[in-house]
Symmetry: C3
Amino acid sequence: MGTFEAKLAELGVTLPDAPAPAANYVPYVQVGDMLFVSGQISKDGDKMITGKLGDDMDTAAGAEAAKVCAIALLAQVKAACGGDLDRLKRVVKLTGFVNSTPDYTEQPQVINGASDFIGAALGDAGKHSRSAVSAAALPFGVAVEIEGIFQIG
Amino acid sequence: MGTFEAKLAELGVTLPDAPAPAANYVPYVQVGDMLFVSGQISKDGDKMITGKLGDDMDTAAGAEAAKVCAIALLAQVKAACGGDLDRLKRVVKLTGFVNSTPDYTEQPQVINGASDFIGAALGDAGKHSRSAVSAAALPFGVAVEIEGIFQIG
Amino acid sequence: MGTFEAKLAELGVTLPDAPAPAANYVPYVQVGDMLFVSGQISKDGDKMITGKLGDDMDTAAGAEAAKVCAIALLAQVKAACGGDLDRLKRVVKLTGFVNSTPDYTEQPQVINGASDFIGAALGDAGKHSRSAVSAAALPFGVAVEIEGIFQIG
């Protein structure tokens, strides 16, 4: 087990298999050392984490959903690295979309669920730039979708 | 006619001229072999394809609008390649914004209109990462806007 | 004072200090000559510029908010360049999110507040690709959030 996955285990997280999209696109594309990972929705195993912030889901639950997206992103990075997550050099950018009402204002606290997890799991390699905004709606009614750009070696 | 444009012709698609924005930005910027293309709205010739998914436009019509965005993206890539679309090496990333109501959930099926077209037209070079989310609203009331990152040679 | 900052001074703009996020992420990440800057919200000094386009803020005020985001982006670029903004080679891509009602259609005119300023300040280096979409809501209720990709030397 690599260093990053050992740290994930300490945090109680085992990366799931990285699912392939059920459509005409792929989970990630690598160009040079840059890896572009498709938007990962808040789906824990087979269970969609649905909800609209500001309506039927609170910020703490939203942050948990964002963490699930971050785990899914790392699972894709691991797959892109041929199973060796330690080839991840840097989380470059996360863009987080929060399914919310028009008057919701705690998008950053929701996406912190992903940022805090990545910071805890990856240390300096996890220091990322990011944006956090609301989407009017998200696929399947999920609460959060996050896409990412990563540098791998 | 290059390979990709011959395939487009088979699919009944002729790339339009690539319009320049009517403002203080440009349709694309190239850095090394990476090409960043500005968001292309669903506009067919001079006709804006307007609508809000979940309200006055259905998913099938949304997918058609997404295909129009994909054609506009390829037109910009062709222009960036000095007219030779075969210099396109890979569609790296598409980010699709769907103009929808707050309870709409079929963003992926809408953006499949772009992904399926690009898959049919470009084969392996068209295998892209992507995100599909809803925007609260889009310029001119269009149904779909898609931006893209491409690798060109 | 460098060339770009002299031009900014002509335009009456002094770049503020570049604030660090109050959370587990960073304002920018550099990979090679590419700089990814976190989404900058419309915040002038300590004052959040809040509002929803199509409701309690008009397009001209939204464009002013977008300019504030552009100034914040350049402040981060300057910090990433060790204080020498002239190391900025190119504004590659801006993605602008406008806090708006579902029927608002002037997202491009709002984000022009950023694009026009960058064009005036940076000339050819400021010619960028961009997308302009609405977000259902934004952090703290701000009117605009803009993220950027830059090439630096």
